[in-house]
Amino acid sequence: MSRRITYIAIAFLTLVSCEKFREGTINYVDFPEHETSISTSLIVSDVATELHAYVSKTASISNVNGPQVVSNAVVSLKDNEGNVLYTMTNEDFDGEFYKVPFSGTENFPEGDLHLEVDVPDFELVTASTRMPSGTEFEFTFEESADTAMIWGWEYVRDSYEFDFENNLEEDDAFLIFFEGKVEDEFSGEIGDWEPLWAEGSIDSRITSIWIYGGILISDESVRDDPTGLHGINLFVIDEDYINVVEKRVRVESLSDELRRYYISLQEFEDNQGSIFAEPDLIYSNVSSGFGCFGMYKYEVFDL
């Protein structure tokens, strides 16, 4: 009798297991319920003539409509004392951004600036940052300094060695753009400033932000060293088929929040599909967890 029971049990287990085995080794589960949050981006340059604030609602990845822009937010920029410097409302909304004329940061008070975004039925969203103080640098230039190769294509590079001032009082980060005016080989006309292809050496202080087109220099690894930002080697590709008649370097000194935002966006793009990379949540200094409130100082230097 016990043997019969054993055989029946084995047969039952086998049948049940075969049925489950046929279902395969992949299971589909529901998306967790999404808690909608407010995403806010406001990036302010000291030379901007307008403030552009972007406010939207997050959405579940399974939502076919995606994130929706918010038109009825009240966006306020305040100083440390709580004084309102700028306000943007629905009247300033152009269908995509909240825009108001901006008179620059010369008259801004010292200290942090605070962003508040009030959207009906949502918690107040806040963020803080401050305008960086800018930079000074010296550089040495060497034309056609070396050659490099990528995937079998060899090219010549001009070398620029920068010595940036490392302000020990604050975290320094600079986004570098090389720009040039190109003479049209047929008409002889000289065009407007356009980006030149540039790259940095392998250096923990240098990160290529190709999503934005610039090269980021950061003192994160050399915070306590006053000469920590000396010897920054950058290279501009010497494209022999165009005639660059003027060159300049545009330097954006970034607030720390903006630096972290750019780097995390770049890493996010770099790591798409990589199984070796850590999950990237995209940095945010906004209280809701999405977006960025950052500032940068815009400076141009002739080369």
Binding site: S17, F268, N271, S274, F276, E278
Partner: protein, 782 residues
Amino acid sequence: MRYIITLVIALVSLSATAQKNYTISGHIQDSNGFEQLIGAVIYSEDSKEGVVSNMYGFYSLTLKEGTHTILVSYIGYNTQRYEINLTENVRLNFDLVAGLTLEEAVVTGEEFNKIEDQVQMSKVEIPIDQIKQLPAIGGEVDILKVLQLMPGVQSGNEGSSGLYVRGGSPDQNLMLLDGVPLYNVSHLFGFFSVFNADAIRNVTLTKGGFPARFGGRLSSILEVHMKDGHMRDFHVDGTVSVIASKLTCNGPIVRDKASFMFSFRRTYLDLLINPLIALGSTGDVNTTPSYFFYDFNGKLNWKLSDKDRLYFSAFHSKDDFGLEINDNFGQDVVDTDLGFDWGNEIQALRWNHEWGPRLFSNTSLTHSRYTYNSGFDVRTFDDQDTTVISAIFNTHINDYSAKIDFDFAPNARNMIKFGASYIYHTFNPGATAIELDFGQPNPLDTITGASSLNSHEAFLYVEDEMEVSERLKMNFGVHGSCLNVQDTSYFSLQPRIALNYKLPGNVALKLSYAEMAQFVNLLTNEGLGIPTDLWVPSTGQVGPQTSKQIAAGVAKTFGDIEVSLEGYYKSMKGLLSYKEGASFMFDLDDDWESKVTQGIGNSYGGEVLIQKKKGHTTGWLGYTLSWSNRQFDEINSGNWFPFTYDRRHDLSLAINQKINNEWSMSFVQVYGTGRALTLSESTFSSTLPDGTGMGFEVYEYSVPAEKNSFRMSPYNRTDISLIRTRESVDGYTKYLIFSIYNVANNLNPFYAEVDYDLNGTPVIREYGLFPMIPSIAWRFKF
């Protein structure tokens, strides 16, 4: 008259205080082969005092002069009783005779060392014979997988043999094989551990209340001891299973004086899979996968004299996974070779010496090395030249150490341990050899990555386990450690204390507090869980990890059943993690320290364990309710988030049932909350300047809402096994082991990701790894 009485009383008092103490000491060992028995009890029925043998089988018991009835007992062995008249220090070795394995035997001596008598709390001991009876994948018994069934011990991914103890990560477990640390204990991508159960004598896991002699890791101490080898007869034990085969031999070199043990295990998955792959290869494309693992345990044991023993242990393990693809396109031939391998090796020389009846020492010289390599090599051959694209990544850690430990038993109420250790570490956190040759004049052939890092680590400790009163026992001590690396020194003084207070009704109330420090760290990729672990040291920029743990509990034995309830709280600092977006593989930046960030964590919870170790029915029921969280300033925007292996509920039931002399069966049921995962489940829009510095563009991103905000499906698994044993009169024993892993064929998730179906709709796919796996194994021994 009054004066005479006073004088007599004074004389009696004097004689009482003048009563001498003498010590009996020696070794407690198996009578058949002289395997040292760890934790055997030796107890005086008259004075109600006793001690347990240390990890080398040595004991020292100091008693008052006079006649004593001594009981010596150990689980699985017949208790022995001796009458001795103690008039001087006596050296006595006890040879216990093995009874029927796990036979019921209620013995007075064992009354001494019940769970409620032990000061040490948060400790897990499972007899090795019980481990061997439990069901296993492919019939391959695994010690770490069995430990994962204990409360407070979580498993990682499905199939993983990693231990996550009380909310700690795998690097926070000190894995000791004959006293030597092992850094990577996994075979087959973590599905099995490197511990070969046939070569192992004893396994103990300590989760909290750490005595001062232990240090260097925050969360647990796993002590695994190899067998010493039979001193009289030659024995062979072999197993053939679906996954691997192993052979263990041990026997005398010089009878009663020296013995050897070696055990070798190898898988043959490569031999099974290769023919199938070859069938699928087309004429122009030949694909040759290869995977194998092996491990070797060896030990020599020499009894130099009654007071001296010498041991030499060796261990070597390797896993090698590779894929060779040969594409022949006529004029062009492309050879692709990719893969990874990792391995451990240790050697240990140990000298035991009895300095006197109360003082014992163990001196060790050891070497441990762990190596990991991965990479690819692609070579294209045509009529004109050869193109090479090659990148090989290597990381390794090398330790040389010297250690001395003393056991000093001044009397039956005190056991003092003290010692010191020095370790010279060499770390290579990761270097990549790159070769790029496209036929250009100067091909690239270079090595980039972190350079080797040396460090010096040392520790001293002293502890005393004391019987303060009839109801109160305690173990207190201090562990002091230091590290010198890159002209930076770290010092840590770690107090340890554990108390056992016996309440009426023989219920023990236990309390412990321990501070720990750790100077090595493991960086683990949170992706698919492939073996990308990097061991890195504390440096001038990366400080050590520290923890403080407090635990409280009650324990009592009901007949043969031990019941313990414990609660704990652990706070941790200096935890190391990769920053968001960081990748260690093929990164040309040699500064690994810039890719990591340090933070804090906490874990707390309660554990229940009901365990029966003897009799025809043995096993345990364990349940854990726990929380484990982390906070890093540079991860998750600095907000607290659940640890990846934060499992709210964890329930395990393991039962071994001996049906008769021929048949026994085992059953395991496991249930656990799904582990946390970071999944892209939200979309948001944000802006970036458009490159001119004047305008902006809007971009949409799919990102996780928060780190580890997604929970995979709960883990639920049932295993069964049936063992048939046949013994012949000439001592040859055969076992036929039938087992079914995951009887209900539940799809326990190994990994989950967001993907898109054919309609472009996003879906979350959970991938399971192991369906129902029946297996059969055959074992023999003589």
